[in-house]
Symmetry: C2
Subunit: 317 residues, 2 copies
């Protein structure tokens, strides 16, 4: 019955009581899930993880195979934005046959660090993503950025991939936006140059919380210390959102916090207008948004952020 009520919200625009439009997009791990995103009213794919193409096999996926996978999602989404995250591998998700030798893989050669250390692998993926952009609206999302030189290197790799496609005469959109995951504390703290240099930002709260609190959530001995409501986390989220507002860049949040309806009012109060989450969560979160008074929440949260005591999200109204 709950499900029937929520289903009625599918085509209702996500807008707060005081008229703030909110974007609700989907996180997906496999191309098939794009259908479920649409069925739950997603206005785009905020995070398309590309690891499925690389994990559990002994050979790297070809450019063609990757292109087909990306393009199928782009076609399904019919010009709604599809945000494809470049390979986020190296930590828990090691490529098959590659031994993870790092003492602390979460603090090691992963994601963009791994891709910049494997330029051929990265170039192949970038060409495949760019080719998919010929069929709709594609955005490239770079994970685990912490240094501006990583942004510059990623942009250079994208420019090279475009040049290669030009040589080949293969089509792609020249307007593909390039953004970064904000999931390392340094990036969230000193966000300004990243907000300037990138087209959009996406806050990855799962990793951001782990690094900011120095805890591995998968480690049972310390999982109890994982706390999305730690004042430091909320300040970092606010800092990134505000930096995006100042320079007119889009800021989404794609960690599990985005899909928790108990945190929707809090995130609206922090100024968030773009949520990306598991498709199954979209309509519950939309219901919260439809009930919310955005400006009242912004005032309440701004006041709470400056207090020493933690915020109780249930107290926001």
């Amino acid at each position: 019955q709950e499900r029937v009520v929520l289903a009625q919200l599918k085509d209702v625009p996500a807008e707060t009581q005081d008229g703030i439009a909110v974007s609700l997009q989907a996180n997906i791990e496999l191309p098939d899930e794009a259908e479920s995103a649409l069925a739950n009213g997603a206005t785009g794919i905020g995070l398309f993880r590309s690891e499925f193409l690389f994990i559990g096999r002994s050979e790297l996926p070809t450019e063609e195979e990757q292109y087909q996978a990306y393009a199928s999602v782009v076609r399904t989404m019919q010009h709604r934005p599809v945000t494809i995250r470049t390979l986020d591998i190296g930590a828990d998700k090691a490529l098959d046959g590659e031994a993870t030798v790092a003492t602390n893989p979460a603090l090691g050669l992963r994601a963009i660090r791994y891709c910049l250390a494997h330029p051929d692998l990265f170039a192949t993926q970038l060409r495949a993503i760019l080719r998919a952009s010929a069929h709709g609206t594609v955005r490239i999302l770079i994970p685990m950025v912490a240094h501006m030189h990583e942004v510059r290197a990623a942009r250079a790799a994208i420019a090279s991939a475009m040049a290669e496609l030009d040589l080949r005469g293969q089509s792609y959109s020249k307007n593909v936006e390039v953004g970064a995951m904000v999931e390392i504390p340094a990036t969230a703290i000193a966000i300004e140059p990243f907000a300037d240099a990138l087209d959009f930002l996406s806050i990855g709260t799962n990793d951001l919380i782990q690094y900011t609190l120095a805890i591995d959530r998968a480690d049972n001995e310390v999982a109890g210390l994982y706390d999305p409501l730690h004042p430091a986390i909320l300040r970092l989220i606010a800092n990134v959102i505000n930096a995006g507002i100042r320079v007119g860049k889009s800021v989404a949040l794609c960690g599990e916090m985005a899909g928790d309806p108990q945190l929707t009012r809090l995130l609206l109060g922090l100024g968030l207008t773009q949520f990306s989450m598991h498709p199954q969560q979209l309509l519950s979160v939309k219901r919260e948004i439809l009930r919310a008074h955005s400006n009242a929440l912004r005032v309440q949260v701004a006041t709470s952020l400056n207090r020493a005591s933690p915020i109780d999200p249930a107290s926001l109204h």
Copy 2:
């Protein structure tokens, strides 16, 4: 010859050209090193690591053995402050015979987390430290604090240890100060309640940099990304120093940055007045302090912090 010049500075008070007094203390790992601290003009021990008592043996050290070790340093330092850090173990420095099973030990059950999970071990160490306080000026330093509930639990454990010593009729100083290492990003970001609840703070830049940048410096594949000058790091250091100034609490810095004479002007510019470092670095850093103009540096660094481009410490004068 360099060494002879520096040796003349041993008893010169550390003071900038514009009359700002600076405290130069020593980090030590073994009781013997207190002599070297004094020989290099240290005005106290800013960080006495206690791991040497626990590592490379199959049985835990007794209270008496710990007490003797701590008291010997306290006696050597003759009423200069001795800051004893409670056990910082569990990550790379596992106790003998204990398998480190964590996937990411640096993000696991270490330091205060470990001690709170092993209350008898912690109580024994706290009693030994407190008993040493009867012979001079002892401060207790809690590593890896990220949550206020950890501060409250540590304070409760110290109160229990005092109560036990009262029962036994053993003497200790009731005025032992309790401080925390600021080495987890969350703590440095949301520092205010910690500055309020603790008697002093000590910034541990080695770990703070690693967590803030999400890199393990011991991992050769990413060690090149370790950057003490990342704008985020400098902002966190400034944030902690300023919070201490606002509530009148002492803030030291005890990571390797403190002992690098090329960073002395930068740290003075951030407002730091308490440095703790390897004894061998004390006089080189003192020489830099004697040459420095603190207020001019504060103006230059404040201006640079708000710029997007990184600070070049060599450009400060």
